[in-house]
């Protein structure tokens, strides 16, 4: 079946199967930042935005992208690089496999929550698993990133 959708700001038309996931479709069209890390809808690695809302692309059926705007890390290069630098500074990335999904969810959180507390940050990010780290580096990176961002917004 044919879907008309918007990917990273550009309108496009694609052929998808009835049982295709959004994840599969995104990889097919070249968004290789999007990865599958589990078979149980529970790791967060496949996170992309649908109309600005973070969703699990492994669970969203591709036909459901019809008429919607999907954003992946490829569409947020500048912001991702900016936050990525904070992650690197804290030595938070080890194998780095979890990063694309994690960054997508952090950037969604920054848009959704105003001045989140530590608890709110953890609550927002518990659906992103990292098998290498103990999450402490990531949390430090977020705190520093938020402090700088908060400063910029005045």
């Amino acid at each position: 079946m044919t879907i008309k959708w918007i990917l990273n700001g550009a309108a496009r038309t694609d052929e998808v199967e009835a049982d295709e996931t959004l994840l599969h479709c995104l990889r097919k069209v070249g968004c290789l930042s999007v990865k599958c890390g589990c078979e149980t809808s529970g790791c967060g690695l496949c996170t992309v935005w649908m109309d600005g809302t973070p969703v699990l692309s492994c669970s969203v059926p591709a036909p459901r992208a019809e008429g919607h705007a999907v954003t992946t890390l490829e569409g947020l290069q500048e912001e991702a690089a900016e936050f990525g630098a904070f992650l690197a500074d804290e030595g938070a990335e080890q194998c780095g496999f979890c990063s694309p999904g994690f960054i997508m969810n952090v950037l969604a959180m920054v848009r959704e929550l105003k001045n989140p507390t530590e608890e709110e940050i953890q609550h927002y990010l518990t659906g992103n698993l990292c098998r290498c780290s103990g999450y402490q580096g990531q949390l430090r990176a977020i705190r520093k990133y938020l402090a700088v961002k908060g400063g910029e917004q005045g």
């Binding site: 079946m1 009835a18 049982d19 996931t21 078979e39 149980t40 809808s41 529970g42 967060g44 996170t47 809302t53 973070p54 969703v55 699990l56 492994c58 669970s59 969203v60 059926p61 036909p63 459901r64 019809e66 969810n105 969604a108 959180m109 609550h123 927002y124 990010l125 518990t126 659906g127 992103n128």
Partner: protein
């Protein structure tokens, strides 16, 4: 992952219901649970074009569409205010934000999982479900029926102002619950709901607190990988007390 040959975005509830009468077809909720299975479907029926993603304040009741996501339930202001934060409390431990932006109320209620936080919480309130075929029936009746081919369209929750509290025990934050417990006060009576026993949530009512505690202890509990029957029975007593404390703190 499932396989499917066709995908139909339903144009009416009647169409969805007619298509769903074939055993080879299935309604697609958020797809989070279905994704874990290996079933072969003929036609997947998508309800996302029917306006069922709405939470409506209809005065005496709240109307929750089947395609409302768990995250919508968690963050909706009217629900937070009218039901003592129950909808936030019963959804906030389920996997993660991205998951809750996908998983639906309809998929959760239809599935009648024994471990369901959602079903446990809803049973503490006065709820009815609206089915495309059978019409409106009490939720309590619906959860006892086996899963059939009817399509769940809405859940209606009476805004009767009853105090309500919710507690769960989990081995780790986002894991399935070992036990779920909801408590409400209906007039002069207590109403407790215990789920993840690990069987489907059970409702007990009593006019006295002691009577309620006895009934909760007398429920059937079972063993599984998350906990033993004995541990669950003990937890039930603890969570019940914590729920009462929650109510007392909020001044009931």
């Amino acid at each position: 992952m499932y396989t499917a040959r066709n995908y139909v975005k339903a144009e009416s509830l009647a169409q969805a219901h007619a298509l769903n009468q074939r055993r080879a077809n299935a309604i697609l909720g958020g797809g989070c649970w279905m994704r874990m299975g290996e079933r072969m479907y003929d036609t997947l029926i998508d309800l996302s074009g029917l306006g069922l993603d709405q939470i409506q304040d209809r005065g005496e009741e709240a109307a929750l569409g089947a395609m409302v996501t768990l995250r919508q339930l968690e963050t909706n202001f009217m629900l937070e205010k009218c039901f003592d934060g129950l909808f936030r409390k019963c959804t906030q431990h389920i996997v993660g934000v991205q998951f809750r932006n996908c998983a639906t109320l309809g998929g959760s209620v239809y599935s009648r999982f024994g471990f369901s936080d959602i079903v446990t919480a809803l049973l503490a309130l006065s709820c009815q479900v609206e089915l495309a075929g059978a019409g409106r029936i009490p939720l309590e009746e619906y959860v006892k029926q086996p899963r059939d081919r009817d399509v769940l369209a809405w859940v209606f929750v009476k805004k009767d102002g009853r105090p309500v509290a919710y507690e769960t025990a989990r081995n780790s934050e986002t894991d399935l619950p070992v036990l779920t417990c909801a408590l409400s006060r209906v007039g002069e009576s207590w109403r407790a709901v215990i789920g993840a026993r690990p069987g489907i949530s059970r409702v007990v009512e009593d006019s006295t607190w002691e009577g309620l505690e006895k009934q909760v202890q007398a429920l059937e509990y079972g063993d599984n990988m998350r906990g033993s029957a004995r541990y669950r029975r003990h937890l039930a007593g603890v969570l019940l007390k914590r729920c009462r404390e929650q109510m007392e703190v909020s001044g009931v």
